[in-house]
Symmetry: C2
Subunit: 219 residues, 2 copies
């Protein structure tokens, strides 16, 4: 029982710090995404395509979260945007404190969009508010169409669902209509986009929508 | 700091219960696998192919772990084996206590192989011993070849790596030699098998190896 109490305390403390992060984001006028998914769903690839698309249109910065390695930060740095890597060293999610620490080594002046790429984990990151404006959950077609029902918390707390790797649909056992319906059954307010980082299909609509969100949050 | 202490206590308590589970498995002569992976890597499909293959050769039972739903237990029950579903209700991993509870509704008499399918999560289940003889980690080619380096704990604690969805290799950005080398760099003792549940490639060698493990543990 004591574990539950501690867990509640941890989450309360996290929420306080998330509120502080939110104040910082508001102060700088930065719109913040928290991208979550299973390992290997294509978060970093989508981020690469998004950075390509938004180049010269928005000031973008990135916080990369990984259990180990700075591979993702290296990939993102190639796009010439400020990036800070958080290595959780076994930790299964980012929390508001880790993001606060990362913000200490990042200048948000001129940044209109901050993308936080969370640790690849479809369970734990759902519980930790980082102070973001919205969570984006990526689900790839290769994971099958039942994932929203099996991991509902993540789909419930997200505002956007990117169904990625749609180029692989002919080769995998995934009914995309079913996947979408399962997600909308958990969260009818989800904004759904279908994407492929191999063919670039769906990247334009997603980026146009995102840019509109950022700009209306600034106005 | 108190969180670290509690976490240690939780793990100590888990290890005690895992030892009790181990005694039960030993008593019944059941060889126990703990299958772990990201969501959608194909754990349940591999289990289905394995059950098909071992039918009439070994007494098999299954414990299914899921955050929500009993979809996987339903799939497994079709093979006529005893199956208990654990729904963690948001919990990100199975622990020894949950397995102990499941054993309460399962008769292990005549069971030579018990397969525990863990929650889809490449991070947290690495820390929780369930009393199993070995962990089997499934990594699908669609997740990319860098996962062993990014999620090392899981690959370090596993005895077997099943590289699944090898039928998709022509369509995905995954160098299978690189994936294998990355895994073996983390854990040189890993037994590696390449599988596809679509073409059945690699299922025979995996099942033959498993059957041999089970039989030598009994002798």
């Amino acid at each position: 029982m004591s574990i539950v109490t501690i867990e509640r305390k941890v989450l309360e403390k996290n929420d306080e710090l998330a509120a502080k992060n939110r104040d910082i984001f508001l102060h700088y006028g930065a719109f913040v995404l928290n991208i979550v998914s299973s390992p290997g769903s294509g978060k970093t690839s989508i981020l690469e395509r998004t950075l390509e698309h938004l180049k010269g249109r928005l000031g973008v910065a990135v916080i990369e979260g990984d259990v180990q390695t700075d591979f993702d930060a290296q990939r993102v740095a190639k796009f010439g945007v400020p990036v800070v890597q958080i290595v959780t060293n076994g930790g299964c999610h980012l929390d508001a404190k880790l993001v606060q620490d990362a913000l200490g080594s990042m200048d948000l002046k001129g940044i209109q969009l901050l993308v936080i790429e969370n640790v690849g984990n479809l369970v734990c990151p759902a519980n930790y508010d980082l102070g973001e404006h919205m969570k984006v959950v990526v689900a790839s077609t290769t994971e099958g169409d039942d994932k929203p029902l099996k991991y509902p918390a993540m789909f419930r707390t997200a505002s956007v669902l990117l169904i990625n790797k749609i180029d692989l649909l002919p080769y995998v056992n995934c009914n995309i209509t079913e996947l979408k319906n399962n997600a909308l059954r958990i969260n009818p307010a989800l904004n759904v986009f279908e994407t492929s980082c191999t063919t670039n299909q769906g990247i334009d609509p997603w980026c146009a929508w995102l840019e509109k969100q950022v700009k209306s949050s600034l106005s």
